[in-house]
Structure formats: structure tokens, C-alpha cells
């Protein structure tokens, strides 16, 4: 029986066809993804910690507004890129990032090392009206961020609890006082807190490259 005859069997049996497709298409994913689950668990770098309540809310706003569609958070170990953004990314820096926000487009600059490059005040003005500080900017303005309370839905403790369940090392009392920690903060405060937390990880030996 040659190959064509074998294939005829597959073509005449829907069940075999379905199984064949599933089997063949599953292989690649298993090979590429499983190792990261069972063998190569990535350890957080010494400086990496879970996001505080304010930073977490800020990060979720960053996701909500689609900031990732224009800003990356992944410095590649290419010479010119390292000169521009200082330190290449290390996998241990993103262990608490759900989802990861490395991005796939730089309409605007990479933000993974933006923390404390600009003052809080600059960040606020820039978010409310980008063209006030960068005249040729094409970034949209986000005036509504200063009109809303960061924890308006009163769910920051629920968010931290969910992350705790996923393994983030939050203490119960940290979660209990989360609402108080962010009381009175606007969404603008939260996202600025998040952006200022994106810093170079000085605990990583930069000569070893990306991972």
C-alpha cells in the first residue's frame, strides 16, 4: 500500500482526519511551550517584585487604553538599542506580568526603562496633553484619567487576591489595606505610579544578555 492509498483511508474517515489534524498541529506547541512550564521556570530577578496596589491599577489602565499597541516594553540586546534604552530585557523582570506587555510595535518609544527618566509632573502633563511637552507627538491625549478615581469600582483587593492565587507573593494584610493605599488616587496617579516603576534592573549582570 503506497502513501496515496494510506491517505485515501484518511480522506474517507472523518474521525481519522480530525485526529490527524489535531495530532499534527499539537506537536509544535507542545515542544515550544511545555519546557517553559515544567523545566525552565523563570526566577524573578532580585529587584523584581509584585506590583503595588497603585501600580497594579495603573498597569490595568495601561492595558485598557491600549498603550501596548504603540509602546513596547522590551529592550533587545542590539548595540544601538542598548545605547538608546540602556539595559536589555531579562526574562526574570516579567514574572509578575499578567499578561506580558512586551509589545510588538514602536510608534512611540520603548517604555521598559522609562521610570524616573521624567518627573511625575512631566508624566502627568504628557498624558493629559502630549503635545504640550513633545510638540510633534502623535500620541492621543488622555484627559479623562484625571477625572476618575483609580479604585472607582472598589476591586483592587479582588485583583490582588486573584494574583495571589496565581502565585504572586502578596501578604494578606497587603491585600486588606490595598483599598486604603489607593484611596483618593485618580487614574492619572495610578498610571504615573506604574510608569515610574518601570526601571532598569540593576541586580542583573548586563553582560549576560537577554536571558
Amino acid at each position: 500500500m503506497n502513501a496515496i492509498d494510506i491517505h485515501r483511508k484518511l480522506e474517507e474517515n472523518a474521525g481519522l482526519l480530525i485526529f490527524g489534524i489535531l495530532f499534527v498541529s499539537a506537536i509544535g506547541g507542545l515542544v515550544q511551550i511545555l519546557p517553559s512550564i515544567f523545566q525552565e521556570t523563570v526566577e524573578p530577578t532580585a529587584d523584581t517584585r509584585p506590583y503595588t496596589a497603585a501600580e497594579l491599577l495603573g498597569r490595568d489602565i495601561y492595558i485598557r487604553e491600549g498603550c501596548s499597541t504603540c509602546h513596547s516594553q522590551q529592550v533587545r540586546p542590539l548595540l544601538a538599542e542598548v545605547i538608546r534604552y540602556e539595559a536589555p530585557a531579562h526574562a526574570g523582570e516579567s514574572v509578575y506580568d499578567r499578561p506580558f506587555l512586551w509589545g510588538s510595535k514602536r510608534t512611540g518609544p520603548d517604555l521598559s526603562r522609562v521610570g524616573e527618566k521624567y518627573t511625575d509632573e512631566w508624566q502627568r502633563i504628557h498624558l493629559i496633553d502630549p503635545r504640550a511637552v513633545v510638540p510633534k507627538s502623535i500620541m492621543p491625549a488622555y484627559p479623562w484619567l484625571e477625572r476618575r478615581k483609580a479604585n472607582a469600582r472598589n476591586d483592587v483587593h479582588l485583583r490582588m487576591k486573584a494574583l495571589q492565587r496565581l502565585g504572586h507573593p502578596y501578604s494578606d494584610e497587603e491585600i486588606a489595606r490595598a483599598a486604603d493605599d489607593v484611596a483618593g488616587m485618580t487614574e492619572l496617579d495610578a498610571i504615573v505610579a506604574y510608569l515610574q516603576s518601570l526601571k532598569i534592573d540593576t541586580s542583573v549582570d548586563q553582560s549576560e544578555g537577554g536571558h
Binding site: L78, L79, A80, E81, I83
Partner: protein, 199 residues
């Protein structure tokens, strides 16, 4: 007989369609036309870049030392000359599939007539500003496509439908060639053949 390529853009389409009666050999077209026709865009580029520099939107125009500029223009010439020839060879290679003539001269005529609007539009290189060149390039490209689709069947002695298929295959080849050139030049730059980039 009047020059194949200039005819394409200046004379009326009826003149264009009389071309099949006056087919010339591949070698004749190269000797009489292609060698100097391909000189047009690089010459404009040399002159424009020398005086104005490349204006790609950065604050300062990019200028080159004349030996470097010359080598860029020579490369451009080789690309155009070679491209016209290779495309006509590929076009002839596809002839059995679309039942078109196997005469190489006819295929080269199609390629040159279709490319003519673009070659003449390269006058925009006299002021190498990105917006100016884009605004000229786009209508020239559309004109080229129109010439290709409307004259290929007659020039290659086939019916309109097979002609359309053949023309679309050529469009596909040109796009793949274009992106390959982009890819190759990028790889060359990252290997150090070109301005310094920090990869």
C-alpha cells in the same frame, strides 16, 4: 523605428498596439535602448543628491561623498538594467503556461514599455525629497500597471484572459523581487556593508 519605451508614454495607445508588427530582437533592443534608458534614473539621482542631499524627514539632508554616491548610482543602474533583462527571461519562462509567444524580444518589449512611465517619472530624483518622490512614484506606478495589463496580450500574441493571468504573475514576481531586494539590503547593512548600524 521610434523608440519602444518613449512611445509607450507619449504616443497614443493605438501606436503602442502597432508595435507587435515591428518586433525586434532581444539583442537589438538591448543595444539600441536599454543601455541608455537604464541610465536615466541613476543620472537624475546623482544630480539631485549631489545638490540637495536625501531629504528623508530628518532635520539634516543626507549627503554623500561623490565616490560613494557614484557607487550607489552604479549599483542602481546595474539593478535596473539587470532587472529588465531578468524579468523578460522570467516572462519568457512562463510562456508555455499562458500560451504566449516565445520570442524574447517581445517579452523584453512588454517589460520595457510597462516600466517606461516609472523610468521617466524618476525625474523626481532631481529633488530627492521623500514626499515629492512618493507623489510622483504612485501615479507612475499605476500608469505602469495599466500599460502592462492593456498591452501585454497584444504584444505577446495571446488572448486577453491568458494575458491577464500572465500580467498578474509578473506583478507577483515584481513584488517578491522587490521585497527580496529590501531584505537583502537589510541583511547587507547588518553585516556592515553600508552605513554603520549597531546591531
Amino acid at each position: 523605428m521610434p523608440l519602444v519605451s518613449i512611445n509607450a508614454v507619449i504616443r497614443r495607445p493605438s501606436v503602442l498596439l502597432r508595435l507587435p508588427e515591428e518586433t525586434r530582437s532581444f539583442a537589438a533592443i538591448i543595444k539600441k535602448e536599454i543601455w541608455w534608458f537604464s541610465l536615466i534614473p541613476p543620472s537624475f539621482l546623482f544630480i539631485g543628491t549631489y545638490f540637495f542631499g536625501w531629504r528623508i524627514g530628518a532635520e539634516e539632508p543626507i549627503h554623500f561623498e561623490w565616490p560613494v554616491l557614484l557607487s550607489i548610482c552604479v549599483f542602481y543602474y546595474v539593478l535596473l538594467f539587470g532587472g529588465l533583462l531578468i524579468l523578460s527571461l522570467l516572462s519568457r519562462w512562463m510562456a508555455p503556461t499562458y500560451a504566449t509567444t516565445r520570442d524574447l524580444g517581445s517579452h523584453l518589449t512588454v517589460i520595457v514599455t510597462s516600466a517606461a512611465p516609472l523610468f521617466l517619472g524618476s525625474v523626481a530624483h532631481l529633488y530627492p525629497h521623500i514626499i515629492v518622490n512618493s507623489l510622483v512614484f504612485i501615479p507612475m506606478l499605476l500608469w505602469s500597471l495599466w500599460v502592462l495589463y492593456s498591452t501585454l496580450p497584444e504584444l505577446l500574441k495571446t488572448d486577453p484572459q491568458r494575458g491577464m493571468l500572465h500580467a498578474s504573475s509578473l506583478v507577483g514576481i515584481v513584488m517578491v523581487a522587490g521585497v527580496s531586494l529590501i531584505g537583502m539590503s537589510v541583511v547587507l547593512w547588518t553585516l556592515g556593508i553600508g552605513p554603520t548600524i549597531g546591531v
